[in-house]
Symmetry: C2
């Protein structure tokens, strides 16, 4: 295998850094991981990451041609500089691309992890064959990565669109972004938890159930849990309907913790989309679950490099 077909992949989260070698066909040849320990500083973490990759190189004998990085955001993919990342306190302003590029002697490319995952699903997973593809990640927030004609869609100046923050209930619940009524404020995991725990009498939010517990209770027929799951499905469907209306994509895939229980939400999601997408050819839009699971991180990191070359 030609060396330019192998990329060193680095996936940086708030608690864990994963690193590995990925082939152009989307095979992970070797991988390793270490804790992020953001409080020990950016330089120390870069040192640990470089060591992980050297370990992978020794293990396989494969020589990567570049490094691709996915990192919890916000990050500036064009400059490589970290923004004010909640999960990485003290790292703001550090240049991730440059730090790894210098340490490894390789050129580097960077995306936020949601966009990296969208690239991975588009190339190797649920979005294969789709000319226009959206990956919607539903977890503590809602992130949307958009891949058009195989390339990551960027907004003005390289900006990452934030479709999780489209307003679907004007003047509604306050959102972490400072606005009111955003999709995320109604349909992310914590939104379902907050609504359920407020509705249940005698329980304050602090001792409330988490999403997993609510889904399990819904499985067991708990009326309040079923209501919460129904509401979640409705609001997920509403935002998805708006995305379909605005993009008419070939495919939309759902990822993230809450979507492990897609089965619970699926019927309601479809009902709401059907009711609200009337002028677009809905029957041609595939709605499906993301396929790469825990591999999305490294495959996406690697794909950021190939995306940057396209």
């Amino acid at each position: 295998m030609a060396t330019d077909q192998i990329v060193a992949a680095v996936d940086i989260g708030g608690t864990k850094i994963a690193a590995g070698l990925v082939s152009r066909e989307g095979r992970i040849l070797a991988q390793s991981a270490c804790p992020t320990l953001p409080e020990q500083g950016f330089e120390a973490a870069m040192q640990r990451t470089a060591a992980l990759l050297q370990e992978c190189v020794q293990q396989t004998g494969a020589q990567p041609a570049a490094v691709g990085i996915g990192c919890t955001g916000p990050v500036d993919p064009l400059s490589g500089v970290l923004g004010e990342v909640n999960l990485l306190p003290g790292w703001q302003g550090s240049n991730l691309s440059q730090a790894l590029s210098v340490r490894l002697g390789l050129p580097a490319a960077l995306e936020n992890d949601a966009d990296a995952a969208a690239l991975a699903e588009s190339a190797f997973g649920s979005g294969r064959g789709a000319r226009s593809f959206l990956l919607v990640t539903v977890g503590t927030g809602i992130g949307v990565g958009t891949v058009l004609d195989g390339r990551l869609y960027r907004g003005t100046g390289g900006a990452h669109p934030e479709a999780g923050h489209m307003v679907i209930e004007p003047g509604g619940l306050p959102c972490t972004c400072g606005a009111r009524g955003c999709w995320e404020a109604y349909a992310c995991g914590p939104a379902m938890e907050a609504w359920f725990n407020q509705c249940r009498s005698g329980h304050s939010a602090e001792v409330g159930w988490d999403s997993r517990q609510i889904c399990a209770a819904a499985d067991a027929g708990d009326v309040n849990a079923l209501a919460a799951v129904g509401r979640e499905g409705s609001y997920l469907g509403l935002g998805l309907a708006n995305l379909i209306t605005c993009f008419c994509p070939d495919a939309v895939a759902l990822a993230g913790g809450l979507m492990e229980r897609f089965d619970l939400f699926e019927t309601r999601i479809h009902t709401v989309i059907q009711a609200n997408c009337r002028f677009v050819p809905l029957e041609q839009v595939r709605l499906l679950r993301a396929q790469l699971g825990s591999q999305a991180g490294l495959l996406g990191a690697a794909q950021t490099w190939w995306n940057a070359q396209a």
Copy 2:
């Protein structure tokens, strides 16, 4: 000027067909028009259109290399076939591209008129220099044309996205599309008129004021008219905020009858966008009025040809 730099342009509306010759630089070299008279049938209208173009050719001596067509929708731009167009009863299923292509002995390309106008503004007007550009036409409905990297964005199977039908008030006012709470149902011209006329006591909708009258009354300080204009600005702003959140475009331009009084809505639109776009680099997004006015029809029609070649 080389002949392949000149395109025959045809803009078909419900009442008027305009035809002309357009140069690659966006200059209209000659133009003419005739009534559509849809009730006299598709073939008769095509005959009249071909005659208009032959007149333009004789007048200028310029020889077009192709024909570009903009037509009130829905149309299938890939096949050239007309859908069920309200304004063109009896024409459904006719192949517009083929009819003109055969009569003129030239290859043809077709788009709906909203997309054609977006192409024209992108190439020659408000969207010049924008890598990502949205043209929002606010009239009897709300249409959005999306131009990315200079090419018209199409959805799955060539579909035209319908961002005017994103839901912004779940369960709200019924929309012409069959759903409830669409942006169009709250912010198109007739929506402002209906709200104003319902609020004014003693006037039924039938004898109500039109948008022009409401705007004039707002100019004169009429309290109800000012309220209607304020509401219109708010809902326009809300939909625009969602488009900016989802696309982060370099530029968004506003066209259509109601936007001739953009001055009345501008402050409110900006206030609502500022309040709702918190995580995207709003300061980099240009919001402006469309620039081509009545020339958009022919320039857009011509540009459909060049877009199809890109």
